[in-house]
């Protein structure tokens, strides 16, 4: 009679180790995040300092006296050594002070909070479309490798991630808005619907539903459809391609053979077992896709006159509003860092192997 000892009951020492493991991981993650954030601030600080325009002159004008010039210079703090200037800059940033916008004369932070939800609404919808359709398409392409489903999906994906988004947007507007009239035009809402719905989340679709304003809801949806579909298609292309690649990798594994040998249906083998292992890798892909969406917002919002962060930054750029540009850069950078952190945290939820310190 053969027996085997099962792992011993959990001792106190082991409990400490079990809790300490994840805590240590979170600690390291925070450390890395802080370091990256500091790096980001360094870059924005550096860019801000490198501008050819003399900020002092911008304030005092070129007819001021030397004393006025020097006085203003020390007021701004430009006579201090660079590390000190950086420190002051960092403190300001941590308090959310990005300076004032030249155009709106408002604090940049306020402007950013006003415009960001528009970008968020569009990007979230596009991401959802991309994942909800992209993942199944990738799975289908992998399981029908070489057959027509695979060819069609790969072809569609290829077009998607080779396509310049601004061009597709223009063509889309031309065909679906100007010629066919199927969707609403540029902008988030028809002018007549502006300011009817009180801002709660900043996402017009959500806010209008809360307020019960169904006309506004449908109108905003009509404006969202085209840009979200286009962005959704581009995201879908990337997600489908990566999913297909990951799935092909999984389908070669031994455990797939074993699950088939158990007598499970191919459906379960693919959609529960193989796909279950692919989610781990897809977390990074989804975070990347969302990052791409935010980043490409500048182009999309220009084409669709979408009043979000991208359009704000572009206008600031052309109005030489450096504070606004750098503030926007910082915001996008922070969101990027946040996305990375989030995917690192989600990882152990999806992959049991990542749950303990190896």
């Amino acid at each position: 009679m053969v027996t085997v000892a099962a792992p011993a009951a959990v001792t106190d020492g082991e409990w400490v180790r079990r809790v300490a493991g994840p805590i240590r991981r979170v600690w390291r993650l925070l450390f890395s995040v802080v370091l990256t954030f500091l790096g980001l601030t360094c870059v924005t600080f550096f860019i801000g300092r490198v501008i050819p325009i003399d900020p002092v002159l911008a304030i005092v004008g070129d007819k001021a006296s030397i004393e006025t010039y020097n006085r203003v210079r020390s007021e701004i703090g430009l006579d201090l050594p660079i590390p000190v200037q950086y420190w002051r800059y960092l403190l300001k940033v941590l308090h959310g002070d990005f300076g004032n916008s030249v155009i709106t004369s408002q604090p940049v932070l306020q402007d950013l909070l006003r415009v960001f939800p528009a970008t968020l609404e569009l990007s979230l919808l596009a991401l959802i479309i991309g994942v909800v359709f992209g993942v199944p398409l990738g799975v289908i392409a992998a399981t029908h490798r070489g057959r027509w489903q695979d060819q069609v999906i790969r072809f569609g994906s290829l077009i998607g991630y080779s396509m310049p988004v601004f061009w597709l947007g223009l063509i889309g507007l031309l065909v679906f808005y100007a010629k066919l009239g199927w969707v609403e035009g540029p902008g988030r809402l028809d002018v007549s619907y502006d300011d009817i719905v009180p801002v709660v989340t900043g996402l017009i679709t959500v806010d209008s539903l809360f307020a019960g304003e169904h006309d506004v809801f449908w109108n905003s949806l009509g404006h969202l459809v085209l840009p979200a579909s286009i962005l959704g298609y581009l995201s879908l292309a990337y997600v489908a391609r990566m999913t297909r690649s990951f799935m092909l990798g999984q389908l070669k594994q031994e455990y797939i053979l074993a699950t088939l040998a158990k007598g499970l249906s191919p459906f379960r083998v693919v959609w529960v077992h193989a796909l279950g292992n692919v989610w781990v890798q897809l977390v990074t892909v989804i975070a990347l896709t969302f990052g791409n969406l935010l980043e490409g917002a500048v182009l999309t919002e220009t084409v669709f006159a979408w009043p979000g962060l991208g359009l704000y930054m572009k206008n600031s750029l052309f109005n030489a509003d450096l504070n606004a540009v750098l503030g926007g850069t910082m915001l996008v950078g922070v969101v990027y860092i946040g996305l990375n952190m989030l995917s690192d945290l989600i990882y152990p939820l999806v992959d049991p192997r990542a749950r303990e310190r190896r």
């Binding site: 924005t44 310049p164 996008v332």
Partner: protein, 302 residues
Amino acid sequence: MSAALTWRGWLLDPAPVSRRQARLGRWFRAWLAFQRNGLAMTGLCVVSALVLTALAAPLIADPRAAILQVLTERLQPPSASHWFGVDELGRDIFARIVFGARTTLIIVALVSAIVAPVGLAIGLTAGYFGHWIDAVLMRITDIFLSFPRLVLALAFAAALGPGIENAVIAIALTTWPPYARLARAEALTRRRAEFIEAAELQGASHLRIILSQIMPLCLPSVIIRLTLDMAGIILTAAGLGFLGLAAQPPAPEWGAMVSSGRQVLLGQWWVSTIPGIAIFVTSVGFNLLGDGLRDVADSRSS
């Protein structure tokens, strides 16, 4: 006829007698595998067409036509005299597309020339020497990895003014991290290999070992990754051009051409559409080529 047969036979000889024969034979077999893939060959054709067009631009189209504004002829549709039509400032679009290929190629080449050496240098150093050097370099790599490309280019343009150089720098700054990671992974794997120890025992310096032994092993993955990335770089550069941040007028650049045709999109669709098609086709070409190269590399290693 028989000469070609002998060449082929020599290259495919299963028992090569010299290192050169073995190496050339490997390359030839890889080429044969690549050739079998129709899509990959299409990609190669497109990329070759781009390179040839860019290099031979003055022979294909009149350089003055790309810049010369003939306002009496503005907004002509495609015809025999103007194959792609005329834009809103009276310039021949075909010529601008041809010369725009140069701009595209320059950006792609410059970015590659910066990204590959820098990424390899950092990654190989980090992986080879390990310890604190690795930690520091990887920290730096991670920081750059989390910068948004387009937005950073925007910020650069805001500070330094628009222009191709700034666009190239911005794109390069955000593109090199994955190559460092690739090189580091390769260096870490090979570091403990016996042939490296053998080289050390022979008295090879670290630099020599890195350059002659480890780096060649990274090159295939780097090249494949670069080709695939180029598609994205072209799209980003076109995006910057669309915003007016890359090549400055009157220099022809495909993204800028799409932008300038926006006002007349409804009536004169060709002004925006054709440059967009050029961007799209080039991007597809690089993607197909990169996929094809990767398929060949995968099948060789499996």
